[in-house]
């Protein structure tokens, strides 16, 4: 056996052996350098070819090339296997985390109510939160010193008063609607969402700041039946298509007739509501088994209000309604404490992402 034969054999055997113990890309790279690199044993064998006889040159040339091909192929296969191995990982490991934002549930509820109404033809007009007595009370047919004003208890501000009475924080969004009525001409259909303030001591159902959405429509042929139609559409779109509506006679200085509006309890009375829970024999925690939930106030706009806004009450009629956004959000999502809205606990906010 020639020297060449021996070296060839050793090379081949060593390669086969060493191949068995390669497990990482790095080891594989070392192996590649060792067997295919410029200084490898194989390169040395190739370098000996010129010294051989013409016949041997042909034989060894072919043989070494076959070996080189074999090593290359084995290394490639090995490389694929190692890479696959290395790619395999514990896919159940947690992700880097989700970076999600959210809108506040009050904004979301308010926006959703506004857009239902916008589709009916209402436009949204916001107004300022600082108002004067005339816009907040007088124009709305609420006399200055009258028991009907007691529910609209108000924060007064130390701002020098002008010709429309003392400045205050609006106690409802109606003054914004008065501004629209005075500044524009009918026909109009407007909703006003926004913050309002009343000096109520804070507890689970009261806050000195809360949000309202009020709406009105004025045209020559607007009537009470329209008011009912709009409200029915609104509650069925917002809550559930099988929610029923009930209007109870009430009194508001700015509407006549006036009504308080209830919906059938979304927990125990509406079959298709997602919130419906199986009746386990105990009292319904939301409606206290009354079957109805009060959600808003409404009525036909009092002619005194139209007249205060210089709208001819003989020609034009209108309806108006107003609701508290917190109340509606609490009913819809089963939130039991109004203070949760303003604490902004991430664990609360996250649920409305």
């Amino acid at each position: 056996m020639s020297e060449m034969d021996k070296e060839y054999k050793i090379l081949e055997e060593n390669f086969d052996k060493e191949c068995q113990v390669v497990f990482s890309s790095r080891q594989l790279e070392d192996l590649r350098v060792k067997y295919l690199g410029r200084k490898s044993a194989l390169a040395q064998l190739f370098s000996k070819i010129p010294e051989l006889t013409l016949q041997e040159k042909g034989v060894w040339g072919r043989q070494l090339n076959i070996l080189k091909q074999k090593i290359t192929t084995v290394l490639e296969e090995k490389s694929r296997a190692v890479k696959d191995e290395e790619e395999t990982m514990d896919l159940t490991f947690p992700s880097y985390g989700k970076e999600m934002g959210s809108t506040h549930v009050l904004s979301a509820v308010s926006e959703s109510i506004c857009s239902i109404l916008q589709r009916l033809g209402f436009v949204v007009v916001e107004g300022g939160e600082i108002e004067d007595e005339w816009h907040n009370f007088a124009a709305l047919n609420i006399p200055l010193e009258h028991p009907s004003r007691d529910v609209f208890d108000t924060f007064y501000l130390n701002v020098k008063e002008k010709n429309r009475g003392k400045y205050l924080l609006r106690s409802h969004t109606s003054p914004s609607q008065i501004r629209v009525m005075r500044e524009s001409k009918p026909p109009m259909a407007v909703i006003s969402p926004g913050r309002v303030y009343r000096p109520d001591e804070v507890d689970a159902t009261h806050s000195f700041m809360f949000h309202q959405i009020e709406g009105f429509a004025i045209d020559k042929d607007i009537n009470f039946s329209h008011l009912k139609g709009v409200l029915l559409h609104l509650v069925q779109e917002f809550f559930s298509s099988d929610v029923k509506l009930r209007l109870r006679p009430h009194f508001f200085p700015f509407t006549e007739p006036s009504a308080e509006v209830d919906i059938s309890c979304i927990i125990c009375q509406t079959p298709n509501s997602e919130l419906r829970t199986k009746n386990s024999g105990s009292k319904c925690s939301v409606c206290k088994d009354k079957g109805w939930l009060e959600i808003l106030g409404c009525g036909m706009i009092h002619p005194n209000v139209l007249e205060a806004c210089e709208i001819d009450s003989k020609q034009y009629k209108g309806f108006a309604f107003g609701m508290g956004v917190e109340r509606i959000a609490m009913l819809k999502y089963g939130i039991n404490d109004i203070r949760l809205f303003y604490e902004n606990d991430v664990r609360f906010l996250d649920q409305f992402t």
Binding site: E145, L157, N223, F224, H250, P257
Partner: protein, 661 residues
């Protein structure tokens, strides 16, 4: 208010279940909040709206029940012994506007005792405390007829009865033992020497009926709602009497109330009626006639009603109805109805009884002369964008303490005249304090990593009086949050809003370390920064907070419609430069030099590596910039790029504080 079913039965047979009755009343406008059995009686808790004085009495409630049940009331009117005049006392009314009618009755020789059980039960079931037979009788009559009465110990009254305004500095001790200073806004009842009652609100201690009382002077009157309201507000009490006077009391049943009380005192308290004395007059004004049109009523309610239906419903409510034509009726409301003055009030009465729920709903075709509020749209746009940048919206209250606010913001705050709490006495001039509170709430509950935004108004005083402006605030805290992340959020927001030409200027901001002002042209539209440690400590914050505030009015003005710009189809050539930057030079300066030198062929610059290690020179930052060159109209040759790049390198190398590596 509370009423008892047995009390109602004095006027009316009621043979429906309490539950049915509750629902009937609720649907007629007397909302029953709660009802329950009390012995053989039923007690109803109701809400009476401020327009219906007439429902603040058992006779009024009974009338409504009778109308619901289509029955008639059986009223036994007490006899009034108007003929016996009391000579020993005169009634002197100073101003008839304050008191239109006053009737005093003298009953002598009474025995003050506890009430018989039927009487104490009547008042107690209407949630009035039982005191003694005399006081209970006055309350019983008030509840029954709606007219408040007051019994004085006649022997403690010195001289005549005056209904007058209080003198400045006159004082008064009520039967609640509280002393109150009076002034000329208070209407009082006085004798020749002293004040004996705060008219319509509360009697005085000095003439109170007690177990030694022998002779009674019984007061019934009509006081002006406004004076009673002012007095009781100033006195800080709300009594059954003031509650009724404030809502306007009618003189219609006044004499029945008196007659009823006198009879009972004679019977229960074994007294003897001596006579009456009166001042003013019973001005029983009839309500005016209102003409209504059936077609207008139909138009108003959106449903067709028959003439006879309208007539029967109104007549059943004791309205005087006369038909003028097929379309027109004249109606006159009964005198106890102060709330029916215009056609719409009649529509209301009709529809209330007809049933709101019997009117068919329909959808109107709404027309508008106005358009959506653009600011509302823009704020909603912001509310959609910011969550995409990972922020959560918060809502905080707009009222804060003046002390807190002046720590955080120089703007002059608007204070509240009647704050709920002295520490919450002003409108906020910044959204920072609400942000701090919300972040603190979460940190204290082990909720780290918060990224919040709020959209709300701030308020402050200015030369026109006051100013109210919408502001966007953002606040972050947590191990992943830092200044540059917040800066990135702002850049992201500006990108969404398509706002260009915004500069961040490194200029301090009080209460912040490392603050950048966000500037467009000459106008500062907001800032971002890291909250100063001192402020953090003052508010007891345990972690670093990054905060930004942006003026929404400006954002809205700068926000532009997006427009497509063509993207160059030619390749980009990039070249890297490694720079050591001394602290005396800003990154901004480097950027400026590159912009100047590379001009139109510059398509971008980015930091691709930042070195941190032992070989970084002191007071320097070392980083690699990749500069991208591209032409809009041709394939850039590498030689073109090389020329530019060399000039950029040269210019950078020539600047003090910049070392090329």
């Amino acid at each position: 208010m509370r009423f008892s079913l047995n009390f109602v039965k004095e006027f009316l047979e009621v043979d429906v279940l309490a539950k049915e009755l509750a629902s009937l009343l609720t649907m007629s406008g007397i909302e029953v909040e709660h009802f329950q059995a009390e012995g053989n009686d039923w007690v109803f808790d109701i809400e009476v709206t401020t327009n219906r004085y007439d429902w603040l009495s058992i006779i009024g409630i009974s009338r409504e029940i009778a109308s619901c049940l289509h029955q008639k009331l059986k009223i036994k009117y007490p006899k009034i012994k108007r003929t016996r005049l009391l000579k020993e006392k005169k009634i002197i009314i100073e101003d008839r506007n304050d008191c239109s009618f006053y009737v005093g009755s003298m009953i002598k020789g009474v025995t003050v005792n506890s009430s018989p059980s039927w009487l104490s039960q009547r008042v107690q079931h209407c949630s009035v405390n039982s005191i003694n037979n005399i006081v209970d009788i006055t309350n019983y009559c008030m509840l029954k007829w709606g007219n408040p009465l007051h019994a004085f110990d006649a022997d403690k009254i010195e001289g005549d009865i005056y209904i007058r305004r209080a003198k400045t500095d006159e004082s008064f001790v009520g039967i609640d033992d509280k002393e109150r200073k009076l002034n000329k806004d208070n209407l009082v009842i006085a004798d020749n020497r002293k004040v004996i009652a705060l008219a319509g609100v509360i009697g005085a201690k000095n003439t109170e009926v007690d177990e030694r009382t022998k002779n009674i002077f019984l007061e019934a009157a009509v006081f002006s709602p406004l004076t009673v309201r002012r007095s009781r507000r100033a006195a800080g009490i709300d009594t059954d009497s003031s509650y009724r006077f404030e809502r306007r009391v009618s003189a219609d049943y006044l004499e029945y109330a008196v007659g009823c009380a006198v009879q009972l005192i004679e019977k229960v308290g074994s007294g003897q009626f001596m006579g009456i004395c009166a001042g003013g007059s019973k001005s029983s004004l009839k309500n005016k006639k209102i003409t209504i049109s059936l077609s207008k009523l139909n138009d108003y309610l959106g449903e067709i009603f028959s003439n006879s239906r309208v007539k029967s419903i109104l007549s059943n409510l004791d309205f005087d109805v006369k038909e003028i034509s097929r379309d027109k009726l004249t109606v006159r409301a009964p005198s106890f109805r102060f709330d029916v003055n215009r056609e719409v009030d009649v529509y209301e009465e009709f529809s209330r009884v007809y049933g709101y729920n019997n009117i068919t709903p329909s959808i109107p075709f709404l027309r508008n002369q106005i358009q959506d509020d653009q600011m509302y749209k823009f704020k909603n746009h912001l509310r959609r964008i910011l969550p995409l940048l990972g922020l959560r919206e918060i809502v905080t209250v707009g009222i804060d303490g003046e002390q807190n606010l002046t720590k955080l913001e120089q703007k002059k705050c608007i204070t509240i005249v009647n704050p709920l709490k002295q520490q919450d006495n002003a409108l906020r001039t910044t959204l920072l304090s609400g942000m701090i509170k919300s972040i603190k709430h979460n940190l204290n509950r082990d909720q780290h990593n918060v990224k919040f935004f709020e959209i709300a108004n701030i308020y402050f005083k200015d030369k026109n009086g006051y100013c109210e402006e919408p502001v966007l605030s953002m606040g972050t805290s947590g191990f992943r949050e830092d200044f540059f992340r917040l800066k990135g959020v702002i850049e992201g927001l500006l990108k969404y809003l398509n706002i260009e030409d915004i500069n961040f200027i490194d200029k301090g901001k009080p209460n912040f370390t490392n603050a950048l002002r966000v500037v467009s042209g000459q106008k500062e539209i907001g800032f971002l920064g890291k909250l100063d440690k001192k402020i953090g400590e003052a508010f007891d914050l345990k972690e670093e907070v990054y905060f930004s505030s942006l003026d929404i009015n400006f954002l809205k003005k700068l926000h532009k419609q997006k427009k497509y710009k063509s993207v160059s189809a030619y390749p980009i050539i990039s070249r890297d430069i490694s720079i050591a930057l001394a602290k005396t030079v800003k990154f901004e300066d480097v950027q400026q030099i590159i912009k100047e030198k590379a001009a139109q062929l510059l398509s971008g610059v980015s930091v691709v590596d930042v070195y941190e290690g032992a070989d970084v020179p002191k007071n320097c930052s070392v980083f690699t910039l990749r500069i991208f060159y591209q032409a809009q109209d041709r394939t850039l040759l590498s030689s073109d790029a090389a020329v530019l790049h060399d000039s950029v390198r040269e210019a950078l190398a020539g600047k003090d504080g910049i070392d090329l590596r």
